[in-house]
Symmetry: D2
Subunit: 283 residues, 4 copies
């Protein structure tokens, strides 16, 4: 597979959407040299946003984590997370009652800023089922999987409330070798057992890209999709989602897709990036 | 199931999104009395749009068909179809080569207004595969299912091009009793045989609602989702899609959902409309 | 829906296959009067077997539980469980190494009678991955869901070993209102996260019925499928599985299928029992 | 991937099950040298059977086609086809009425030997729906896909009858480059549109292997699964099905699985053959 360099194409675009894990960072920390990419974008007046399937914390905490890692340009306004879409849904569709959630207190905090009451499934009793107006899957931590997933199943059987999945990923990397089951995988199991349709937010769903696009345009970015590039490491989320929304797309080899497999994966999946690059580093 | 009347709720909204089949019309023609609904909306300054999974013809022809049936208010600017989304995708993502299509000449005409060359699969020879830059599923008519679907399968095996499905419906009603397989069902079969990922447009996908919303706002409609109501007859397309986009939703009994089944279908699916009404007629 | 009485049809058959939960017992204990059914079958020389998706214990313990509940006719030779099929698979296909399992010690005991070493995932360390020759899903208890399911995911990523699911059920009833996630639901999640194909045993798979049939014939029962009746409470496991194997089938209303829903469920699923009866009691 | 030679392992087995397409023949005709394999098996008293997902004709015609190609040892008793399982189902479960079918007259002939009336969908009128007692998918030829598949959809909506799929394959090879949609792919589309559960026969389903096993044992073959080898070219049908039934399995490179992809396909699918061989030729 012929690889392009990011440098050779970036100047054609006014806005860049970046996936986070596998593009900007991996289990070891920042991708070496990635800081220079953001220096270049800043110097050349190219807009950028981070599109991440993450609801374990709010955009402020996500931005802080990048800044602490050394990417000081990544401020809260640069963050577009699937958790923000879930919060938006709750804002429009759930106006009373208590939101039950699976996740940590930290993950629920961002929901609470809507002024809604929240209650961890870990602290909920099924006798309270009538008070619950929605169930949100936020994070894979903060509850007992056996006890609390069974409680979630029965909550959804006893009451007819929407179930919202704020991160569609099935797994996430723990270290160089191991992965962990993500809240999206857990939610799939609960949905299958309960038999009701859940509402999901996150790439590759178009809503993620539209939310980012509206956010970017509201902050003065270009509305012209031909001037926006989506950069990601995963064909089935970043690339197909970007393509469907009408963006040019760039696949990098620093995450889920290995250089030796990329040509075959593009061929067998039929998901075709505009460019294939080794990484998103601009040196 | 307690039914509300559309009249009692419509004044709370500034914009109404209507599904077409099962809400405005059925196999016999217009739903009796539906013309009065549009008179009311016009008189009261309430905006409205028709959201339809249809790529068998362009928005101009769709609008004409409503006008010929007696709904003269429904002009081209009131139409939002899945075919319009497919055309938008092609505009941004396919800039050269020939678009092969499954459908009638009429369905392809709307694609050709982009200035792209089109070629019916019925007239394509596999020796031309290298010239084809995308395959679009437009309509279930206009080709020989046996010969041309096999040709489509092999086209997608020989070349790595995007396949676009411009209507996700599996079937559509023919008359009071019979249905016909729709192009969405055909596309599912081809995708399954080929094993590559297709790109789909149409309800319940969020992109359809966002496209309608942007279109409405561009024409002066409210951007406030709390002021928009989605009216449909199908839980799994109109209602779940409207809910996910953050709209209030209204299920009517004039199409796919029978009054005697509606409560059970809402309960077992977990797809919850804001209102359940007998029909969308305002008398 | 017209209901038949079991009594009026039972004499046409030489062998009866019974599902367990929802037919012989429910969360409260035995279905009232069910003991008389087995008295009748014994008196009239009609063979019977219990076909159950259960791998939480061996056939001896399953039989004991029926006897303790008052069905003293149900001896070990009357039991056909999905756990027996999983054990059969391991006997033929895994001849060395250690079998890792998800479940209680009790559930593993039946595997150990093959002479194979077993190791609970709860006690396994991923550094031992190379010694493991298969992973078996036996029961939803006996391990920490969060820690040990993640361990199972990584075991299957590090080594290429078969994963065997010994009970395909997604959930099981806990009491009159609550259900619990069954090991089949857990296995689906792990399979989806890992992306490899698991091997499943249990109704509705034909192998369960064939195993029961061979077992019955070996003990002197009729080989003639026309003389065998499958009795169950679930269309999607008992009835479709029995039908596919060529048996007559009888749906009862003492479990998953409510009388008021049965006609609609048969119509919408297209899964057609030979008979519909209130229960399997012969008075 | 280290390849074994079939010769070096065949003597360990008393019975060999062969897949047909990709193992014994391909689009060009017999695999070169395959005749010697059957000479060897005959000389050494090793039993063999052909397990094929094919319902386009009966076992007699299938055997004839092998004999005409030069494999004169392959007589009718050596054939086990998915069509034979579908016929067996009809024998036990459909005792009256007319069997409607999708396929050629030749494919229906084998069903008619049961003494049942058959009627091609191409000649059926929906006004006859009440006389139809089952619908069987036999072959992708012999009917008009557009007209007759829509007729099949409405037949299954008007009446609640079983739908039987006698070949689960999605496609089959036409020549060195092209494939054609098989009746299994067509049936999936109709099932999805109708929303009812169909009954499927063919590999990888266990019933195919059990039928072959019973057939082999009835003709004097070994009942010991450890003495039976399944030979196939497809991991997802031949190998996973053989493994699940408890047989040793051998993957060959003369069909669907290319040598350069085999190791990766085994690794990513988790479907593990006992042996990997270049071909099934014994020289």
């Amino acid at each position: 597979m012929d690889l392009t360099s990011f440098k050779s194409i970036v100047d054609q675009y006014e806005t860049i959407f970046f996936d986070a894990f596998g593009v900007l960072k991996n289990h070891r920390g920042l991708i070496p040299g990635i800081k220079k990419t953001f220096d270049y974008l800043e110097e050349n007046g190219i807009n950028y946003y981070i599109l991440t399937n993450d609801a374990s914390r709010g955009p402020r905490e996500l931005a802080q984590s990048y800044q602490e890692a050394g990417l000081e340009h990544i401020t809260i306004d640069k963050i577009v997370s699937s958790g923000m879409l879930a919060r938006e849904y709750l804002k429009y569709k759930v106006k009373a009652g208590t939101i039950a959630y699976l996740g940590t207190f930290r993950s629920a905090h961002y929901i609470e800023t809507l002024g809604l009451d929240t209650l961890s499934i870990a602290h909920m009793d099924l006798s309270q089922a009538d008070e619950i107006s929605a169930l949100v899957f936020l994070d894979d931590e903060g509850f007992d999987w056996s006890e609390d997933l069974n409680k979630a199943v029965n909550l959804l059987r006893f009451t007819n409330i929407p179930a919202i999945v704020s991160n569609t990923d099935l797994s996430y990397p723990m270290d160089q070798k191991q992965v962990a089951i993500a809240v999206g995988g857990i939610a799939d199991m609960v949905e299958s057992v309960v038999g009701k349709r859940f509402i999901r937010f996150g790439k590759p769903d178009a809503q993620m890209f539209i939310f980012a696009h509206e956010h970017s345009v509201a902050l003065g970015g270009t509305p012209d999709k031909n001037k926006i590039l989506m950069v990601g490491d995963t064909l089935t989320t970043d690339i197909i989602g970007g393509n469907k929304f009408g963006l040019d797309t760039m696949l990098v080899m620093t995450g889920n897709t290995l250089p030796k497999h990329s040509a075959m994966m593009i061929e067998t999946s039929g998901i075709i990036p505009t460019y294939v690059c080794e990484n998103a580093v601009i040196e």
